[in-house]
Amino acid sequence: MTAAVGAALALALIGAGVLLAFVRLVRGPDLANRVVAVDLLSALGIGVAGAGSVLAGDPVYLDVALVLALVAFLGTVAFARYAERGGDE
């Protein structure tokens, strides 16, 4: 029970974080800043998965976290590569 409450509160905090990350994503001002925002979003997503698994009582969310950790990283690297090669914003 305590854990569930904690999870819910944690989710609320992370949700606030998501909003802030969105602000940065929209504001930019450049590609790299947006990528940082996306990177943070994926980390926040992992947090959501973790807290969500406690709230939902379903460890499956941890698998999602694992995939997220893996692939989000790949996305970030891809963007970085794109940016280094002078891609358009």
């Binding site: 692939v71 790949l74 280094e84």
Partner: protein, 139 residues
């Protein structure tokens, strides 16, 4: 051009086996828990894609060893063949045939599992084929 740097190279070296292991994990348990050939194949492809991004197409090609389209052919062949034994025995195409006893770690084996392996190979193959072609074109 690649994203080459000692940092990324080392990270890739660590992440590649780990990611591939995770993909096998997803494949093996897919029949009973979330996972399966699709997502397994995608994750495996992500591992090779990282190599592609960091060290370039040639490194990724050497690593994969086979032409991705051969991988696709092999996967399709596996999937198709997994349906054939019952057909040849006069039954319906794709009727599942199972080993009686479950094996440790991988669990019960049967033609549907083989089919899933085919899916894994196809997915891995196609993602790599696409990425290789794009990377080649990029130069």
């Amino acid at each position: 051009m690649t994203l080459d740097s000692p940092i990324l190279r080392s990270a890739t070296r660590l992440l590649l086996p780990l990611t591939l292991m995770f993909s096998v994990f997803l494949l093996v348990r897919g029949h009973n828990e979330p996972g399966g050939g699709f997502v397994g194949g995608l994750v495996a492809a992500a591992a090779f894609a990282l190599v592609l991004l960091v060290q370039g197409r040639d490194a990724a090609r050497d690593l994969l060893r086979v032409d991705p389209l051969s991988l696709v052919a092999a996967g399709l062949f596996t999937a198709l063949c997994s349906g054939l034994p019952p057909l040849l025995a006069g039954g319906a195409f794709m009727t599942g045939a199972w080993l009686k006893t479950p094996l440790p770690v991988v669990g019960k084996l049967g033609t549907p599992v083989l089919f899933d392996v085919g899916v894994y190979l196809v997915v891995l193959g196609i993602v790599m084929a696409i990425l290789f072609a794009l990377a080649e074109e990029e130069r």
